[in-house]
């Protein structure tokens, strides 16, 4: 790393630290100014398993791509500003928060840990995610959670068209509206939507909200720091008519 990295006393970097040990108002954080340090240098430092730094603050992200990709350490990282494509891609561990918007491919293929965006996210947020939690306080765009494989996604606003397309496992919570063709060809992922659904995709149907689903949803909302009432949501999932090829379903493929 270069000399622009400095340690400084900061307030709790995320404000909602969970599960990664105590972070107090007197904890120190390493501040990386992306106006002076390259994303490559930042990511190399974040990947350095020998680096003892737990708390990171990233300033002047200026919409750059690939920030904080592939974090595999229990760190807490805060970004002040908007980030570009593939922020926190392949995220393995730790908690990252963006105070701003995120570009395409937010937390793509996240494995575990937590990625939180206070603003909007562009297309394909949490695509192919295997685990962990992705929270978008604003709107997510088209194809949110496409091919999700176990990730949990909580969106405070709306999601765009083709969200949860081919979603195989995990949970998606949408506190606003969902665009066209929600859950097209969904497998076993569970989708909860509070607002309007423009249309359901092929083989996606509304399902009853049983007690176990209300409990699951309540837990997801709390973990995302939200206070919506689970009773206001509807559940959608697979009708399981596309699991095996059947010539009667040819039109649906």
């Amino acid at each position: 790393m270069t000399a622009v990295v400095q340690s400084t006393a900061v307030a709790d970097p995320t404000g909602t630290v969970r599960g990664t040990g105590p972070v107090t108002a007197t904890s120190t954080a390493t501040v990386v100014d992306l106006a002076a340090t390259s994303v490559r240098e930042l990511n190399a430092a974040l990947h350095d398993q020998a680096d003892p730094t737990r708390n990171w603050i990233i300033t002047h992200p200026a919409g750059r791509h690939n920030i904080a990709v592939g974090i595999d350490r229990d760190v807490t990282l805060r970004v002040d500003g908007h980030v570009g494509y593939f922020f926190a891609g392949m995220h393995q561990k730790g908690e990252v928060t963006v105070h701003g918007n995120a570009g395409q491919g937010l937390a793509e293929n996240i494995m575990s840990g937590r990625v939180h965006v206070t603003g909007d996210a562009s297309q394909s947020a949490a695509a192919t995610g295997h685990g962990g939690l992705v929270v978008v306080e604003g709107n997510a765009s088209a194809r949110c959670g496409i091919s999700m494989k176990g990730v949990d996604i909580v969106v405070g606003g709306n999601v765009g068209h083709m969200s949860a397309f081919m979603a195989q496992a995990g949970r998606m919570v949408v506190c606003g509206d969902a665009g066209e063709n929600l859950g097209d060809s969904v497998y076993e992922a569970r989708l909860y939507v509070r607002g309007q659904v423009a249309s359901l995709g092929s083989d996606c149907v509304e399902k009853p909200m049983r007690q176990e689903h209300l409990a699951e949803l309540a837990e997801l909302l709390v973990s995302a720091g939200r206070d919506e009432d689970p009773a206001d949501f509807r559940r959608y999932g697979s009708a399981r008519t596309l699991y095996h090829f059947h010539s009667d379903n040819a039109d649906a493929y």
Partner: protein
């Protein structure tokens, strides 16, 4: 991939900075299309005058010297007070005549020239090579103006030539830039050609520009013309259209191509990616959003 950067300034105090701001935006989207570039600047007093029509010609070097071209055009249009100015890779021909008259005179004097811009408010500049160099050759950073649009091209549907660069300006003070590709442009081109529309290039985006110009010339409003375009053109696109008094943005109905808009009291800006907007003054307090698929957004100056 292509990169788009467009800026419309609403606070007159910022107009002297149009060129430098647009240049900064352009440089952030070079990676999206490093093969060629085009720039349009509206209401730059050094290049356009509301009392005079300006044609932007491809190429700084013409078969006639600037003085020779001016006097040859004067013979065709004795009342027009024609002037010719070369800036970088572009030649600007100005005269007190309509763009149709000026174009006809130019066709007589120098047949087969590529006219890349026309009107009383817009100057269009294009070139092949790194967009940073194209902008520098034309002195973009020192330009003042009301709005501007820059495009970095990654050629898909036609060759890497300056003529194939965006923006496409095929009617007075109208510019269109495109990121994406149209799959049925040949069909629409044939339909337009049957109506008598003449094309300058093989470029698919020119078809969109000609289609739009045809509808606007027939008296249609910009919003509805762009909505119609969405029903006729098949493909994926983000389009930015600039006019004498405004700017429009529209994405295809499945929003295949990126677009980010930022709005403040002082300006409205659109780019393919946020990073192009990151250095605009007041961006920290701007309303930043992604245009919804298929919806036409317009901002009047």
């Amino acid at each position: 991939m292509c990169g788009i950067a467009a800026l419309q300034i609403t606070n007159p105090a910022l107009r002297p900075q149009l060129g430098s701001l647009l240049n900064t935006m352009l440089c952030e989207v070079i990676e999206r299309g490093p093969d060629s570039a085009g720039i349009a600047v509206y209401d730059n007093p050094a290049l356009t005058d509301p009392d005079t029509t300006v044609l932007s010609l491809l190429g700084g070097e013409q078969a006639l010297s600037p003085a020779g071209l001016a006097s040859a055009l004067e013979r065709e249009l004795p009342e027009a007070e024609v002037t010719v100015e070369v800036l970088g890779d572009t030649t600007f021909v100005s005269g007190q005549a309509s763009s149709t008259e000026l174009t006809a005179a130019l066709e007589t004097v120098l047949p087969g020239r590529d006219i890349i811009g026309r009107g009383r408010h817009v100057a269009v500049m294009k070139g092949v090579g790194n967009p940073r160099d194209v902008a520098e050759h034309h002195g973009l950073t020192s330009m003042t103006g009301t709005r501007g649009v820059a495009h970095t091209r990654m050629a898909t549907e036609s060759a890497v030539t300056a003529a194939g660069s965006h923006p496409f300006s095929v009617a007075d003070d109208l510019c269109l830039v495109h990121n994406g590709s149209f799959s049925n442009h040949a069909t629409i081109r044939r339909d337009l050609e049957r109506q008598g529309v003449v094309f300058d290039s093989d470029n698919d985006s020119e078809v969109a520009a000609r289609y739009l110009a045809t509808r606007l010339t027939a008296g249609e409003e910009l919003e509805s013309a762009l909505e119609h375009l969405g029903t006729v053109f098949d493909g994926f696109y983000t389009l930015v259209v600039t006019t004498r008094d405004g700017m429009a943005v529209v994405r295809d109905p499945i929003s295949c191509k990126p677009a980010v808009v930022a709005v403040t009291d002082d300006w409205v800006a659109m780019a393919s990616e946020f990073r192009a907007l990151a250095d605009l003054p007041g961006i920290d307090h701007a309303h930043v959003f992604e245009p919804e698929p298929g919806r036409v957004y317009t901002w009047r100056a």
